[in-house]
Every structure is written in C-alpha cells, then in structure tokens.
C-alpha cells in the first residue's frame, strides 16, 4: 500500500492529452488536456455524460480514433514508450490486444456474425502466441468456461446469433482476455443489457480482474454501476478530468460542483413530492474555445473566477484531487456557506403523503388482456391475461426486463395493436377493437404517448414548429395561425425550451431537449392520460432528472395520469405511486411503491431488487445477488391465480405459495 493509496506501481499515465476532430470543416476539441494514471491490479471507473469525451479519450490509448480525429497534444506513457507519437500500424500492433484490450458497448454487433464464436477466440490465441490450433482450441474452451458459459464444447461451434445478449457479452470478454492483456478497457459493456444480466457481468469482470491481476478501465454514465465495480473513480466533463479519487471519497465527500450535482440528481436519492436536483441546460458546445471552468455556465453557485480562469488541479487528500476554484484558499468561506445551505435543505425535504386510493375513481381498467404475435407459423404470446386498473391522477409504473411485454401493453392501450383479446376500458367505455370514428378522434385527444428514443421519435426533416403542432393540425384545435403559434410557444416555454428554437430541425438539439420536444408534442393536446414508454432510459443521468421533474410538474399542474414503463426499479421508485412487476408477459406482483420495496413477495421481484445497483460503495460491496429461475414454480398441477394478498398488494401465485408469503408477512 504505497503512500498515494495505490496497491501496485503506476503502469500507464496519460498527461494533458488533447484530441481534436475536424467535423464539417470546423475543428472540435473532444479532449482538452486530460490526465489519468492507471495502477496495476486496480479498477478505474471513468464517469461522464455523453459528449464528455470519455470513450474518445480511452480509444486514443490504443490508437482506435476515427479517421478524422488525431492526438494534438500531451503524452501517453506506457512501458516507457509514448503512444501519442505512434504513427504506423505496426507500432500499435505491438500494444493492441497483447497489452491493452478493449470491450465495446453493443454485444450484438461486436462479433462477426458469420464465423463461429470458438474460431473468433482461437484466432486471437494463435495470432498472438502462435500456439498450434488444437491446443489453442482447448485454451479457448477453458476461457469460455471461466466466463461462465455452460457446456462450452458444444457452444464452441455455434454462431453469435444463437446467443442471448448477456451470453454474447461474455464471449466478447472471453475474446478480449484470451491474450491476457495487462489493461482491459470496458466502454459501457452493460448499458445495453438488462439489470439482472448486468449484475452478473459486473461480478464476472470483478472476479476476472482479481484472478488475472488485470488493470480494468470501466467507462460508464451510471453511478450505481461505478459504486459496484470501481476502486478508483475519475469524473470527466467537457473533455477534462475534473475530479479523481477513491470510490468512497467521491461518493461521500465529492468536491467538484459537477460531481456533487451528478450525485444529487440520482433518482434513487430523490425525495418523493419534491423536485429532484437537476443540472440546468446541456453540455457545452466543444466547437467553441471554452474559457474558465467548463461547468460554470450550468452551475448556479459558480464564482466569477470560474468564468475567467481555468482552475488547476487542487489536492484534496493524498488520493483525492479536484479541478475547481472552490478548493482555492480564497474561496473558503463561499464553500462553507454552500455546505451549510445544502445540509439544511436536506432535512427540509420530508416525503409527501402517499396517493390516497379510497376516493380516487378508476380512469382505465385492463381486464385479462392477451396479445398474440405470429412469428413464422408459430404463435407467441407477448402479453398473457393481464389485469390492472389505473386511478385518475396516479402514476402506475410497469417494470420488467426487455421482451417482458411491457411496451406491448402500452401500445395495446394506445390502440397501435388493435387485434387483442380481453377488454380495455377507458372512462367507462371499451376502447379496444372496432370503435366509431368520432370516438377514435376523441380518444386521440385524451390519450397521448411519449417515446423512448429521442433520436428516432422526431421527424428529422420537419421543423420543431410542425412537429409540435401536428396534433393541432389533425383536429384543427386552433382558430388561426397566430393562435396556433401562441399555443406552441406556451407549451415550449412550459417544457423549458426558448420559443426561437421552433424554426430549427431536431438534429440541432441534445437528447434531453429532443425528449422535451416529444413531451411538448403530446401535452399540447392537453390529454388526460399519458403512456410514457421508457422516456428516460436513453438519457444521461443529469438530463433524466430534468425530464422527471418536468413530468411531475405537468402532473401536478394538469392533473395527468401516467402509465410509466421502465426497466430500472430504482429510477421508478421516485416517480411512481404504485409499481407492477412484469415477467414474460405476465404481471407477477403489483403494490404501492414503498410497500413493494419493504415486502417484496414474488421471487422475481426479489431478484430484480437485489440486481439493481445502488449508488453507495458500502451497500454495493456486501450485497448478495439473487437469481430467479422460472422453473422453481410447479404451475402444471396448480395454475397461479392473481390474488390480493394485502389490500392493494396483488401477487401471482398458487395456493401453496400464498401460504408461504403470508408466513413471511
């Protein structure tokens, strides 16, 4: 344990690295003098939002920059060579794979679809170490076993499309470690995976790192994951490392305003009824030269100096450094004042009263809804007789993994899928199947939908003005042009966008802003009921808080009712009144939000809760991971029934299991 808190020697150090791209004739400085030191056998997490330059920075370590980007300054010292000076491919080949390996985000496209996975691993071994094919094959099978792939011999000859997302990521990791690299860079390896699978992959990486004494660089935007896996954390913003330190220090005593803001805007830490702390605005435009502290324009408590001079790296402790003028002696009293204020606000926030269900009237009832899809000649049940009600003014969350049918339920309610079995009753009338035109028109105004991917849900070739007023055009909800423009302006201000953006095209906005346009488009029709299909899962942490606050504000002001579809339980806790957990097309448990967190009954709910990463290293370190295996219920003889075991707490179980649950309560 050296004096700077590191276990092993420093094996890689990036000093004031600057990377520039020329894009559409202008140069963009993606990384502005970032420095980072990697020590042997440790896991360094780099946290930052999209556009902060974290993946560009790490890609420069192995010379994988895009063809229009180049390192324009600084050094990359590794084994007393300066990688920044590498020009020819031959030089990089001595590093890539053997010394530094990398794993990418989307497992679906990382493997060559037309070659067996075994071949893709063996070729690495033979290429680097020249081992004969037979022996290399054995090694490959060993590695496959090590990454947790059952019966590796048969799976060796299979093709990538025959593996699930999680399995494929395990194969990618196996390929990366096949040549025993010294440093493994993981660029958001689990973002595209479901929560339960993500937990298993994180455990796998931790075990491998300990076993092979590798240095792992873990890039992510999810602080929960950081808490789970990282020893050291560096926070990156607008192309600079603004704060670095041990995981414990960063989570407990963060110093840089951006890091503090990131931590506070985590939904898991939110207090119900009050707005989440959210960082205003959007990341800075890297085309322009940035003066002073890049975060200053978005930091309400910024000081004047922050706008003029770029802060140097201050030492907070032996292992903790931060690049903010707050650490300067002059700023001491300003810093203490802020700390006191934050503490006071913390106590003030008392959670608001839970939603009272006694005298709320039912807005929407779903009675044994089943949706079937035809795939080839086989029929496949996406939703299997689901029952639930939504009360006026509440937010019901529907949580489940990908492919569980949650989106299908949302679309069935919005009549996008029209051939469904069972009944959907809205405001007392049946709305699925054939209904007359007038009723359909009315429905279109009363029910609206918000979509997941901000990039795909806006028409690239239409101006924002048309996008928002598309609904108005359809039903001529305006008297004349001025009236329409007025309506558009109001709704834009409500969602926090300046009205002079209305003549721009969608691709000129950031993810968060595009999502706000989507929301504006729905709410301009002032609906009663909104289906939000994973509105925040594609956004960065800070932007999520903004959208959640916006949705809550809309609910408060307009008395909306939400069906909130998500796959992350922790995020959902803050916003929802009741939560329904869905698995393979069937709702397994439905309960009031806090009740579900206190007494999860169904094994699947328990497994979900245990897999969700919590942004506190202590909690994460000693958390035990439960796995759910659907075979544990024997439903052949006694089919499960949807019973209300406690008032408002429903669970799908048969007689025998119900007995067990009652004992637990």
């Amino acid at each position: 344990m050296q004096n700077n808190g590191h276990m092993g020697p420093c094996i890689f150090s990036a000093r004031d690295v600057e990377i520039q791209f020329n894009l559409r004739g202008k140069t963009l400085t993606a990384v502005r003098k970032a420095s980072l030191d990697l020590y042997e056998g440790e896991t360094m997490a780099i946290v930052g939002e999209s556009g902060s330059g974290k993946s560009v920075f790490t890609k420069s370590f192995i010379g994988m920059l895009d063809k229009n980007g180049k390192i324009t300054g600084g050094q990359l010292l590794y084994q007393d060579q300066d990688l920044a000076q590498f020009k020819t491919e031959k030089e990089w080949l001595s590093i890539r794979g053997k010394k530094i390996a990398m794993v990418f985000q989307d497992p679906m496209t990382s493997l060559n679809p037309v070659r067996t996975i075994g071949e893709q691993i063996t070729e690495v071994i033979t290429w680097h170490f020249g081992t004969p094919h037979a022996q290399a094959k054995q090694e490959a099978i060993e590695i496959l076993k090590k990454v947790g792939i059952s019966d590796a011999e048969t799976r060796y000859k299979q093709y990538p499309h025959e593996f699930s997302g999680g399995m494929r990521q395990r194969v990618v990791i196996a390929t990366a470690i096949a040549c025993r690299p010294q440093i493994l860079i993981c660029d958001e390896p689990t973002t595209a995976l479901d929560v339960t699978v993500q937990a298993q992959i994180l455990n796998l990486i931790r075990d491998l790192q300990r076993e092979m004494k590798m240095t792992v660089v873990y890039i992510t935007h999810d602080l929960g994951v950081v808490a789970n896996v990282a020893d050291w954390v560096s926070v990156m913003y607008a192309g600079q490392i603004v704060e670095t330190g041990t995981a414990k220090e960063i989570f407990s005593s963060a110093v840089h305003p951006y890091t503090k803001a990131l931590l506070q805007s985590m939904p898991q830490l939110g207090v119900k009824g009050h707005d989440l702390f959210s960082i205003q605005g959007t990341p800075p435009n890297l085309f322009k030269e940035i003066k002073g502290d890049a975060f200053a324009p978005r930091n309400p408590d910024a000081m004047e100096i922050d706008f003029e001079e770029e802060p140097p790296l201050f030492k907070v402790s032996d292992t903790h450094f931060a690049k903010t003028w707050l650490m300067h002696p002059y700023a001491r009293e300003h810093r203490e004042a802020l700390e006191i204020r934050d503490a006071q606000e913390k106590e003030k926030q008392i959670p608001s009263a839970p939603f009272d269900y006694q005298n709320a009237e039912k807005l929407l009832q779903v009675q044994d809804l089943t949706v079937k899809f035809k795939l080839g000649d086989r029929e496949f049940k996406a939703v299997d007789n689901v029952n639930f009600d939504i009360y006026k003014g509440e937010t019901l969350s529907l949580v489940g993994e990908s492919g569980s049918g949650k989106t299908t339920i949302g679309r069935a309610i919005m009549r996008i899928y029209n051939k469904v079995d069972g009944k959907i009753i809205f405001g007392g009338e049946k709305i699925n199947g054939r209904i007359d035109k007038k009723k359909a028109k009315q429905l279109h105004m009363q029910m609206q939908m918000i979509f997941q991917d901000p990039m795909a849900s806006l028409n690239e070739r239409a101006k924002v003005d048309y996008i928002i007023s598309e609904g108005l055009y359809n039903y001529h909800l305006f008297d004349n042009k001025e009236d329409r423009l007025k309506k558009v302006e109001n709704i834009m201000n409500e969602v926090g966008l300046s009205s002079d953006f209305s003549s721009r095209f969608p691709h000129e906005f950031s993810g968060g802003q595009r999502q706000r346009i989507g929301i504006a488009r729905s709410l301009v029709m002032n609906p009663d009921f909104v289906v939000a299909d994973e509105p925040i899962s594609a956004l960065d942490v800070s932007i999520r808080a903004q959208v959640i606050n916006l949705l809550n504000k809309m609910k408060r002001e307009r008395g909306l009712t939400y069906l909130f579809i998500a796959h992350d339980l922790s995020v959902v806790r803050f916003i929802s009144d009741r939560i329904a957990v869905i698995h393979k097309g069937r709702i397994v448990e439905l309960a009031e939000c806090e009740e579900l967190f206190r007494h999860p009954l169904h094994p699947y709910t328990k497994a979900l809760l245990s897999a969700v990463p919590y942004p506190d290293p202590e909690v994460e370190k000693n958390k035990v991971l439960l796995t759910y295996d659907p075979a544990m219920h024997n439903y052949e003889s006694k089919p499960p029934i949807w019973t209300e075991i406690l008032p408002g707490h429903f669970v799908l179980a048969n007689e025998e299991e119900l007995e067990g649950y009652r004992k637990e309560l």
Binding site: N285, F287, P312, H334, Q448, E470, Q513, R521
Partner: protein
C-alpha cells in the same frame, strides 16, 4: 505539481448571478441536410465539370434546333455532297444522303434526352407511387411480388414487337414499351426503402396523434426518399438511352425519319469502316451524356447519405 498560481483578485470569489439561457445554448450548428448534401456533392471537382457539361449540352440541344437554319432531314441531291469529311461548313461532315450530321446530332440529343427523361419520369413517378402503396399495406405483398415476377420474366422484345405492330413505330410506342417494365422494378426498390422508414417511432407517433395517411406520406415519408428519387432518375436516363440504341440495332426502334442518337449511331455503324467520323462524333456526345448522368447519379447517392456529411 501545483501550476504557478497567477495572482488572483479575491473579489472574484463571489457567486455570479445564474443565467439560465446561457446554459441552454447548444451552439446553433446551422447544419441543414440539403445544404450540406449540395456542398458535399459539389466538393468533388469532376462532378462540377460533368454537371456543367451536361447543362451545356442540353441547353445547346434545345436552343440550337430553334436557331439553326439547316433542316436536318434535307437530302442533298448532288452526289458530291454525300459522305463529306468534317469541314467548316459541315462541322461533323455529311452522312450517306448529304444531311448535315452536326445539326442531326443536336436534334438527336434533344429527342433522345426528352425520351429518356420521360421514361425516367414515368418509371420513377409510377414506381414511387406503387412502391408507397405496396410498402404501406402488407396484404398487397403476395400479389405484387407475383406481378413483379411475371412482368420481369416476360422478355421485353415481346412487348416491343407487339406494340410496334399495334401502335405503329412512333415516339409514343417506344416510350410505352420501354416504360412498360421499368416501373415495377422501381416500385420494388421504393417499397424496400419505405418499409425500413415506415416502422420508425416517429411514424408511430404521428399515427398516435391521428395524422391522416395522406399527410404521413407527404410530411414523414417523402422528404426522406427525395434524394433516392433524384438518384434513381439520374441513373435511369443513361439506361434508357442505352436501350434505345440497342432497339435501333435490333430494328424495332423509332420511325425512320425520327432523329435520335440511337438512329444516328446505328445508321453510322453500317458504313463505319469507310467513314468512321459519321458514327464517331455522335457517339462521343452520347457517351458524354450517359457517363455524366451515371456519375452524377452515383455521386448524388453518396452525397445524400448523412454519414458522408463529415
């Protein structure tokens, strides 16, 4: 590792009032799809030259016939006027009947280009409409695929000879027979493109808002495939001119006194070894047009792909 500390004014260490709009400024990148498509398109020097050439040739072929006194079909009775070498008086020389090839070439370019343009218009026009309808409702699929198979399997010569007989050789006949097959091929091409756009979320959003099909097509679908339409049209023109020349060779082409590049080239071919200039010069113009349109079509396709807007 402390950097030398510049002397600082303690006064600066006070909170500055927060400007919300400054935080929203994302740096308006005034990137518009069409402007950067055009910019990438014309960045390539060769394209600029070819476009200029094409515009020049087409303008000349439309203006020259109106302006020139020479009647392209005027036959010279004196044998000395037949098969003259290119001279100042006859820039391209005269053909087997003493007609001025220079004038005939320009009439030919105009007629060939008009014919090819109409065919391109009809192929792409009808093709897009049928493709849109076909792409939009799934139940049409089996029937349309059957129609596609049948039409493409019937040899085009059957149409040509039959139409040439029923409607006697004229521009209209050639147009109908050449356009009778092109549309279904274009329709399939557009159907595949529209299928990939149709299932995007923004189309689903429009449907949720109750936007009628008509406006979804005009506002959501067509703007995305405009660049494809232009590319297909540009590529269709050289193809049509090429098949017109082929028809001339096979003998089902246009009426005899119609002046098209195909006819001139075929008439020149008969006495090629003796008077190469008769075929060579119109061929050069023909090649310039077909090559130019082919390059423009391909380069436009590359330029209209957002990935290349870097």
């Amino acid at each position: 590792m402390e950097k030398k500390m510049p002397e600082l004014n303690p006064l600066k260490f006070r909170a500055k009032v927060f400007d919300q709009m400054l935080s929203e400024d994302t740096g308006y990148s005034n990137y518009s799809y069409w402007r950067s498509t055009i910019r990438t398109f014309f960045k390539n020097k060769a394209v600029v030259v070819l476009v200029a050439l094409i515009v020049l040739i087409i303008l000349m072929s439309f203006i020259y016939p109106m302006v020139s006194p020479v009647n392209p079909n005027k036959v010279a009775l004196k044998r000395t006027m037949w098969n003259n070498r290119p001279s100042w008086e006859h820039l391209f020389g005269t053909d087997g009947l003493g007609r001025d090839i220079w004038t005939r070439a320009w009439y030919g370019v105009r007629n060939s280009f008009l014919l090819a343009f109409c065919i391109a218009l009809s192929d792409v026009g009808i093709g897009m409409l049928v493709g849109a309808i076909w792409g939009y409702n799934k139940k049409l699929d089996p029937i349309m695929i059957e129609i596609y198979n049948v039409i493409t399997n019937i040899p085009s010569t059957v149409y040509l000879v039959l139409l040439a007989y029923i409607m006697n050789t004229s521009y209209l006949t050639l147009f109908v027979s050449m356009a009778s097959r092109g549309w279904i091929v274009e329709a399939r091409f557009f159907r595949n493109r529209i299928l990939s756009i149709r299932d995007n979320e923004y189309n689903m959003a429009s449907r949720c808002l109750g936007t009628p099909m008509r406006r979804i097509a005009t506002k959501n679908i067509i703007p995305h495939i405009i660049s494809l339409i232009i590319m297909e049209a540009a590529l269709c023109i050289p193809y049509s001119i090429g098949s017109e020349v082929f028809l001339g060779f096979v003998g089902i082409g246009l009426p005899v006194d119609a002046i098209t590049l195909g006819n001139i080239v075929n008439q020149g071919r008969a006495s090629f070894t003796l008077h190469p200039y008769q075929m060579l010069l119109p061929t050069i113009i023909l090649c310039i047009i077909t090559v130019a349109f082919y390059v423009i079509g391909n380069k436009f396709a590359d330029a209209s792909d957002p990935r290349n807007h870097v």
